[in-house]
């Protein structure tokens, strides 16, 4: 966990301490720890400012000794649970009349050479630093009037601006330590804190505020053990307060914002570097409070093995950059990086080394090392038979199933359906699970995993036109998406198979037929409720010659399952529609007319490349477009213009953005 506290001025030890010696001032004049990690850029550029020094000029009394350790524990518990608004604290104090504050200790600053001795930049800094930036109730502190009296700067502010300014007592500015105290009147106007819990909450808020950089949206929680304000609170002196501190701070952070979205937008980067963390137990709440973090610095902790990071392996789904350098895991488990990259599908950089390109991240469905990337459908038709069948079948299924059954089925045809109620659902969770959602369909489902008895198995297969028609009519009313207009919702594949029964009996060994598989979605009208239910389906047909339609259905198997989305239908990457040797070899054997006669593959490639540069479409889409346009370049462009508006973003090559 966070380093056990050591005396504030303990002799430096270890690299962190050594770096801590290298105090430098940032451009605001804050004294900050020269923390840049061995020259490697962190996730954010700021470094944590130190906490206020001890009461150098007799400002606010130190809280040491005021709160017992027990009280602190109780407070931290409350701070974590309570949702008392921070507003109460800030707005306490009398209204009206301006309050005077005396600022000292700034004269010898680096800005003292300025025309005004640095006063204007000091004022600017005071306003900026005292303003609340982290939270939905953000407000700016305004210094209404100011004057210099000898070595003192006297500023006049509204009473509600007093606490945030007084709190800055002991801050470093431009190489000096500034003291701020209230003039004229003791108690009046100082924050009247309603309870110890409120006091702790305000302190934690203050720590967060001080460590937050508005411009880079960076919350720097590095080296918390060295934070002097936290040390003053003896946070890290007992195990109990140590373990409660971080969750409490996260709660305070959450309560500073009215809406989670505002919080997520305000903080996109966090550093937990230099915290002596051995695992994530103490800080795991970060992933609850800021689940959409993009940049995370965990460098220079004490993570020894991958399991120490286990808490966060399924968190931070949007993490883009992660830094783990300076942890023992680098030596102990050199293979850790490979694993960590797998944990975060959006990770672009690990330890400032690129691990994924934007393009790779875009293909989210892609499984690392998956040897069978998703490709577009294989549709090996002959004279448009399979295509015509699929178009007519699903249109007929939605409109008139009795006619459909008479048209495509004969006395030997078989139909049955199976319900897979356990199928994975759409990752985007667009369709909710509903109790009893398969009711009605289960009584004829022929899922052999569920239907074990032979008589039931036999009863649930429908043989011949009449039985098929009756079974069809018994199914709920359906509406399938239009095959042409909503092609992205379908995968239709077709190939020839031998050995299909020959109704004429002339070929005793069977004839060639089509093996057609269709995956898609269907809207069902639920009779009992009148509601529309969207499901996914898989349908496998065997077509043979014969019948009134010229083709007849030998076998029709339907699987119904929960809606699974369409993302699995998107080709994962555009490579290799003719580059795969196995595919090319097979295509040759098949004599599959992938290209029209007289068009060579190099020529086709040129056409695809030209269409890609003309339209910005990906290789796959350009190729598909040409396919659908009969490999006529001009027709392809016309078709592209027509379809442009409905093409998904993935149809286009990603630009520099």
């Amino acid at each position: 966990m966070v380093a056990r506290s050591k005396p504030p001025r303990a002799a430096p030890r270890g690299p962190a301490a050594a770096r801590r010696q290298a105090l430098r001032a940032d451009k605001d004049g804050d004294v900050s720890m020269g923390l840049s990690i061995k020259g490697r850029a962190g996730v954010g550029k700021s470094t944590p400012p130190t906490g206020p020094r001890k009461d150098a000029a007799g400002g606010r009394p130190s809280r040491n000794g005021i709160i017992s350790a027990t009280a602190q524990r109780a407070i931290l518990r409350q701070a974590g649970a309570s949702d008392v608004s921070m507003k109460e604290v800030r707005s306490s104090g009398p209204r009206g009349g301006l309050v005077e504050l005396k600022v000292t200790g700034w004269n010898k600053s680096k800005a003292s050479g300025d025309e005004d001795g640095g006063v204007s930049s000091l004022l600017k800094w005071l306003e900026k630093k005292a303003s609340v930036r982290l939270g939905s109730r953000a407000r700016s502190v305004r210094i209404k009037k100011s004057r210099v009296e000898g070595s003192d700067l006297i500023v006049k502010v509204a009473p509600e601006d007093v606490p945030p300014l007084v709190r800055m007592n002991g801050y470093g500015w431009a190489g000096t330590t500034v003291s701020i105290e209230r003039l004229g009147g003791a108690v009046q106007g100082t924050p009247v804190v309603s309870s110890e819990a409120e006091r702790i909450k305000e302190m934690l808020r203050h720590v967060l505020e001080r460590r937050y950089d508005l411009e880079t949206k960076f919350l720097n929680l590095s080296a918390l053990g060295q934070d002097e304000e936290l040390q003053q609170q003896k946070i890290f002196e007992s195990k109990s307060t140590t373990s409660k501190f971080f969750p409490a701070m996260m709660k305070v952070l959450e309560h500073s914002f009215d809406k989670k979205e505002d919080l997520f937008a305000a903080i996109t980067s966090v550093s937990l570097a230099n915290n002596d963390l051995e695992d994530l137990a103490a800080v795991t709440s970060l992933s609850i409070t800021l689940p959409r973090l993009q940049n995370l610095d965990l460098s220079n902790n004490k993570f020894r093995k991958l399991s120490a990071l286990d808490n966060w392996r399924r968190r931070f789904g949007q993490l883009e950059r992660l830094i783990l350098t300076g942890n023992p895991i680098e030596q102990n488990d050199p293979g850790y990086a490979v694993e960590v990259v797998k944990w975060y599908p959006n990770l672009r950089q690990l330890n400032n080394v690129q691990v994924r390109t934007e393009e790779e991240v875009a293909n989210k469905a892609q499984i690392t090392d998956m040897p069978f990337p998703i490709r577009s459908a294989i549709f090996q038709d002959e004279g448009g038979i399979a295509e015509q069948f699929v178009l007519k079948f699903f249109a007929g299924f939605d409109s008139d199933r009795a006619v459909l059954a008479a048209y495509y089925f004969d006395e030997h045809s078989e139909f049955s359906y199976a319900v897979n109620s356990q199928a994975p659902r759409d990752p985007a969770a667009t369709e909710k699970h509903e109790a009893g959602e398969w009711e009605g369909l289960l009584k004829q489902s022929r899922n052999l995993r569920k239907i074990q008895q032979l008589p039931a198995r036999q009863a649930r297969i429908f043989h011949g036109t009449k039985a098929v028609a009756d079974a069809f009519i018994g199914l709920p009313q359906t509406k399938h998406p239009d095959l042409a207009a909503e092609a992205k919702k379908w995968i239709v594949e077709a190939r020839m198979v031998p050995g299909v029964p020959d109704p004429t009996g002339q070929s005793p060994n069977g004839v060639d037929g089509f093996f057609i598989t269709v995956h898609g979605e269907v809207e069902e009208l639920v009779a009992s409720s009148g509601q529309i239910k969207k499901r996914s389906f898989d349908r496998t047909f065997i077509l043979g010659p014969g019948g009134v339609a010229g083709v007849r259905i030998v076998s029709d198997q339907l699987t119904l399952r929960s809606y699974g989305g369409t993302q699995a239908f998107e080709p994962e990457n555009a490579e290799g529609w003719n580059a795969e040797p196995t595919y090319a070899a097979q295509a040759e054997i098949d004599g599959a007319p992938q290209l029209p006669e007289g068009l060579t593959i190099p020529q086709a490639e040129q056409m695809v490349a030209a269409l890609m540069s003309q339209t910005g479409m990906t290789l796959q889409y350009a190729k598909d477009c040409l396919d659908q346009s009969g490999w006529n370049a001009q027709v392809a462009v016309v078709n592209f213009e027509k379809a442009k508006a409905i093409l998904p973003p993935t149809a286009f090559m990603s630009t520099a953005a």
Partner: protein, 168 residues
């Protein structure tokens, strides 16, 4: 020649489908060196088309050896779960007059098997979970009797055509 009843067809086909599915997906998960034994031997038919015909996520594999090699060398850890299985008889009498006994008749049909399920990829519990659909044309293993006679292990049904897709 013995004829089979509808009940016989239902019994033979469903038993065969279930046994095949159990063994085949176990082989994909844990016995990848045996994958090619689930497919018919590679042949080129008179019309020039090759068998077995394997279509996997939109890619045609040249033969079962190439398919098996891909699984052995590149496929990450998998765990398949066939959540739904169904089967029809595609051709009830593949070879006319092939054998006289009922047992011969029971082994003279081709089957079409449809499977719907999930597959965990990469690692137990934490790996991505995909939904898949797998359709097979199974034919009797012509070599079975000979292999059995020699004491070899013969699979009764072999994959002649297959179409696999991730669907979720």
């Amino acid at each position: 020649m013995a004829t089979l009843t509808e009940t016989d067809y239902a019994r033979v086909s469903t038993d065969a489908a279930e046994r095949f599915v159990d063994l085949y997906y176990s082989a994909l998960d844990g016995s990848r060196s045996s994958i090619k034994t689930y497919y018919v031997p590679t042949i080129v038919q008179d019309n020039g088309r090759g068998l077995p015909s394997i279509s996997y996520n939109g890619e045609l594999l040249a033969d079962s050896a190439a398919f098996q090699e891909r699984w052995e060398k590149q496929m990450p850890w998998t765990h398949f779960e066939a959540q739904s299985v169904n089967v029809h008889v595609m051709n009830p009498t593949m070879m006319p007059g092939a054998g006289r006994s009922k047992k011969d008749a029971e082994h003279n049909m081709s089957l079409i098997v449809q499977v719907s399920g999930s597959v965990r990829l990469g690692e137990r519990r934490e790996g991505p979970l995909r939904g898949f659909s797998d359709s097979f044309v199974l034919v009797p293993n012509a070599e079975l009797s000979r292999a059995a006679g020699k004491g070899g292990h013969g699979r009764p049904w072999l994959i002649q055509s297959q179409t696999f897709r991730f669907v979720v």
